[in-house]
């Protein structure tokens, strides 16, 4: 067992884990963060995408021990504490960018990461930027539209992406320690 400590969606967790534990299984099985899902075992589908230190990663291809000391944001940590949706979440809803919704958490997190680097991407840049995420329902067209519109909304509102770090959200700094 290896001791690790990470902050997930604004809450710090300390745990002992087997080194072979994947980050996504740690999130789901130990921390109850079941919003992040697993869709493959070859790092292709991107359903498990989360932000780690602000960068998108595939949490099925990161060991929990590698995330020791990291700040992780999952789809569950995107909305405000008052339930207000992140602009990317809102635009996915508005543009019908999801059907079954299984790829959606990863797709949203990948889009948040893309817009953080490129706030005004072209459609081609969006398509390239989401190449690590597979969707079987939508044909991607409305996803591209959602990302484009979310980018526009964020540029207009000056919304910060990715969401404010926990340190800047003192109200979420409560610590939860699990064993």
């Amino acid at each position: 067992m290896t001791h690790i400590s990470m902050t997930v969606d604004g809450v710090r967790y300390d745990d002992d884990v087997e080194p072979r534990t994947l980050l996504v299984h740690h999130l789901r099985d130990r921390l109850g963060k079941v919003g992040t899902v697993v869709g493959c075992d070859t790092s292709n589908c991107g359903s498990c995408t989360v932000l780690m230190a602000g960068n998108s990663v595939k949490s099925c291809t990161v060991l929990a021990v590698q995330a020791d000391g990291s700040d992780v944001t999952t789809v569950e940590g995107l909305a405000g504490r008052d339930g207000s949706l992140h602009p990317v979440q809102r635009s996915f809803h508005e543009t019908h960018a999801l059907q079954c919704g299984y790829c959606t958490p990863g797709m949203i997190m990948a889009a948040v990461d893309l817009l953080a680097e490129n706030p005004d991407p072209s459609d081609d840049e969006i398509r390239e930027g989401l190449e690590g995420n597979l969707c079987r329902c939508t044909g991607y067209q409305n996803i591209v539209k959602a990302v484009r519109e979310a980018g526009a909304a964020m540029r207009t509102s000056g919304q910060q992406v990715p969401p404010a770090k926990p340190a800047e959200r003192p109200e979420t700094a409560a610590q939860e320690v699990t064993t």
Partner: protein
């Protein structure tokens, strides 16, 4: 799927890492970004007893200017490579090829050195390193050694880095006055290269003064297309000359036949893509 159990260590120094690998014996495995290793662990295609995580070794990071070359720390992530001004200025070929590696998420975790040490012939960076005549600094129990690209890629998924060694850095000569291009061909955006061609060309007015061409996935290791280079160097910088030279792209290559392409088709692609890559590199 879930990996089989293994021990884990996260040394902070190069010597510590080498020691950990030596102590771990044959089944110890060094892990850089883990983007190739972890899927293999999950499918239990790799079952190491010990995984030595190199992420804690700060000496393995960073890109520095070393006169006529850049020295790229092995643990530099693809994302860092893509955003590095030295790379963009002096070896844009690396940036261009790196942008085609996997996807954003993988590029955030995967490393330059890890991709090279993994030595997957379908990987994009080995052929780039071969084309650039990169050299590799390796640390092991006996100290440091430097290996040229021509000796670094040994076989399928096998580099010169021994189980008790780690790759420290990659030295890449600057390409002042050269044009370069990486041409990748894959069936879908996220697929591995069926064939890729890394080309660098130095023109002297109407002639091609120097040329380097290396092929991705045309054998168990990246292949330098020497016949193409010989045909190009000293010849005219013309579309016809490039096309004629490119016809020799597959000479000496031994591409595999597998579920994604036959050897014949790969050889054909190598000629077409070589022509395109050299033309783009030479701005023809």
């Amino acid at each position: 799927m879930i990996p089989a159990a293994f021990e884990y260590s996260r040394p902070t120094g190069i010597d510590d890492a080498v020691r950990a690998l030596s102590e771990g014996g044959e089944d110890a495995k060094a892990m850089a970004g883990g983007q190739s290793l972890i899927p293999m662990l999950r499918l239990r295609l790799a079952v190491p007893s010990v995984v030595v995580d190199l992420a804690g070794i700060t000496d393995l990071g960073g890109i520095r200017d070393d006169g006529d070359a850049l020295v790229i720390g092995a643990m530099t992530t693809h994302d860092e490579v893509l955003n590095d001004e030295l790379i963009k200025t002096h070896v844009p070929l690396i940036a261009q090829a790196t942008a085609t590696v996997a996807d954003r998420q993988v590029r955030h975790r995967g490393t330059f050195g890890g991709s090279l040490a993994h030595a997957d012939p379908a990987g994009d960076l080995p052929s780039v390193a071969a084309a650039l005549d990169a050299s590799f600094e390796i640390a092991g129990p006996a100290g440091r050694r430097t290996v040229p690209a021509s000796e670094f890629f040994v076989d399928y998924l096998t580099s010169a880095v021994q189980p008790d060694e780690i790759l420290v850095s990659i030295r890449v000569p600057k390409l002042g006055g050269w044009g370069s291009h990486y041409e990748k061909f894959s069936r879908v955006a996220q697929a591995w290269a069926m064939v890729g061609v890394a080309a660098a060309v130095r023109r002297d007015n109407g002639t091609i003064a120097d040329a380097r061409v290396a092929l991705t996935n045309m054998g168990a290791t990246p292949v330098r297309a020497r016949a193409v280079e010989e045909a190009l160097i000293g010849g005219p910088a013309s579309a016809d000359a490039v096309a004629a030279a490119a016809e020799r792209a597959a000479e000496g290559a031994e591409p595999s036949s597998d579920v994604s392409a036959s050897a014949d088709y790969r050889s054909h692609l190598a000629t077409v893509l070589t022509r395109r890559a050299v033309s783009a590199a030479g701005r023809l």
